[in-house]
């Protein structure tokens, strides 16, 4: 295969948090190295608290205090890559309307048209003038996803965006995400501790260890997305992954079958 520049190349050799009063520092990431090809949807799977959010914050440029390197492929026009971020909580500004929340991240001259498109695409065409406290949790997540897609990201980071939602809402949001992703192809790094969710969404799973986090395995998922509707095939895949990676048992495996 020809050497194509990956959309994301990350090699975090060391990331640690200082503890108060000179106690030993907490090592969050050690030798976490990862490459994602353009257009790939990769799920980063690991136990809760293993440093996945820390990793995303480093990739997003929010955290520069680490040893290692992060390279994002430049856009075709030479501009630096745009990164969209869907946080674990929607992080919408409660004092701005839904429309204003999305417009905030866009160039002002084109914002209105893009916001209209995106809200229609996530099924919230009637919600422009609502304030976030008026939205249901599912609607808030939709707005957060719309905001991330609105900037036409080269890399989309998603940090357990469907955590603590009811089953039906999660199902709908997953469908929505895949629909948006097909219509607006981009590279996605999706963080989750739910192995089943990862298998339903991703082209490839990257499995992380308990802290200090590093990659312990990779699982390509070749099953067509149309056949991943939580049927027996997903369960089979899941069992196989768990067999090969016993270290995941006790974290991802504990989530009860649905």
């Amino acid at each position: 295969m020809a050497a194509v520049t990956p959309a994301l190349h990350a090699d975090i050799r060391d990331k640690r948090y200082a503890r108060a009063r000179g106690a030993q520092s907490h090592i969050a990431l050690a030798g976490l190295s990862l490459e994602i090809a353009a257009g790939e949807l990769v799920a980063l799977v690991g136990p809760s608290g293993c440093g996945k959010t820390t990793f995303l914050n480093i990739v997003a440029g929010l955290d520069r205090d680490y040893v290692g390197e992060v390279r994002l492929a430049a856009r075709p026009d030479g501009c630096p890559a745009r990164v969209g971020y869907v946080f674990q909580e929607p992080r919408l500004l409660p004092w701005r309307t839904v429309h204003e929340n999305i417009a905030l991240v866009l160039p002002p001259d084109r914002a209105d048209a893009i916001v209209r498109d995106m809200l229609t695409a996530v099924g919230l065409a009637g919600a422009h003038d609502l304030y976030p406290p008026q939205l249901s949790v599912g609607m808030s997540r939709r707005v957060a996803i719309a905001r991330a897609f609105a900037i036409e990201p080269d890399l989309l980071l998603m940090d357990e965006p469907f955590v603590s939602l009811d089953h039906d809402t999660v199902e709908q949001l997953r469908e929505l995400l895949l629909k948006l992703w097909r219509a607006r192809p981009t590279t996605v790094l999706f963080v989750t501790h739910d192995l089943r969710e990862a298998l339903m969404l991703a082209d490839r799973l990257v499995l992380l260890s308990a802290p200090p986090a590093h990659v312990v395995g990779e699982v390509p998922v070749s099953l067509a997305r149309s056949r991943r509707h939580s049927g027996p095939e997903i369960e089979l895949l899941r069992d196989e992954v768990l067999r090969q990676h016993r270290e995941l048992i006790g974290s991802a495996a504990t989530s009860a079958p649905r």
């Binding site: 929010l62 946080f87 992080r91 004092w95 905030l104 406290p133």
Partner: protein
């Protein structure tokens, strides 16, 4: 049929307004009766004060002096809010600045208003700038302390969101930071206005040749309580009007997103 919440709210507002008017009417009635019973130059009747108020309005002296004093209040208020907010945010965001200047703030907070005013006049002369500056310096530390609290309470999650989406500095300030500070700004503005207008009168009394404070000094020399009370009523009414016409609508606007 249940009454809608909007109807209920406007009904409650009407009741509370009626209570206020009734309470004020009671005060004026007690004042009138007491004054008539005492029949002393030291306590003129309410009716006499209101007649004097009307006369002063008609001959233009009161509107002129009131206007000058309000202009000083506005200038000192704006300077104090701007400088105090900047200092407060800087100290709330930076531990170093906070450690460096916290004691200065405490010192300023405890400095009597009169000392600041006298020193300002001694050092900078009996000028308009010295007068307004002295009032502002009296208010700045309180604004800074309030806004420092606000800056410390800023939610890092929103800042991270703005940073990761490359929302520019100015837009971040306007849409992300300031809305979080509004409650603190309003608190500082409210107590600020209450303090500033009282100190402006002292500044005028000590070193200006016009304004409400200066007029009150003239009446004081003549023991003319009627004039003093007429000016006081006009001034208090205008300050209350500012609260109703400017602060409350602004605050409602800033809080309209709250469910």
């Amino acid at each position: 049929m249940s009454v809608s919440t909007a109807q209920r709210a406007s009904w409650l507002r009407a009741v509370s307004l009626a209570q206020r008017i009734g309470s004020l009417a009671l005060l004026i009635a007690i004042w009138q009766i007491t004054a008539e019973a005492l029949d002393s130059r030291m306590l003129p009747a309410a009716s006499a004060v209101f007649i004097e108020l009307a006369r002063l309005c008609a001959d233009g002296a009161l509107p002129f002096n009131l206007g000058i004093t309000l202009a000083r209040v506005a200038a000192a208020f704006l300077v104090a809010m701007a400088v105090g907010t900047a200092i407060g945010i800087a100290m709330g965001r930076s531990r170093t600045l906070d450690a460096l200047f916290d004691s200065w703030l405490v010192l300023l907070l405890n400095l009597p208003a009169l000392v600041i005013i006298v020193l300002a006049y001694v050092w900078f002369g009996l000028t308009e700038a010295a007068a307004i500056g002295a009032v502002a310096v009296n208010k700045i530390p309180a604004v800074a302390v309030t806004l420092r609290e606000g800056a410390r309470a800023l939610d890092r999650n929103y800042s991270q969101m703005a940073q990761s989406f490359h929302v520019g500095r100015w837009r971040t300030l306007r849409h992300v930071i300031l809305p979080q500070l509004y409650p603190y700004l309003f608190a500082a503005a409210r107590s600020g206005l209450a303090l500033v207008w009282k100190i402006v009168l002292i500044v005028e009394l000590l070193g200006r040749s016009n304004g409400v404070g200066f007029e009150i000094q003239l009446y004081f020399q003549q023991f003319d309580v009627t004039g003093i009370l007429a000016y006081t009523i006009a001034f208090v009414a205008v300050i209350q009007l500012i609260e109703w016409v400017i602060f409350q609508p602004l605050e409602r606007r800033a809080g309209r997103w709250r469910p």
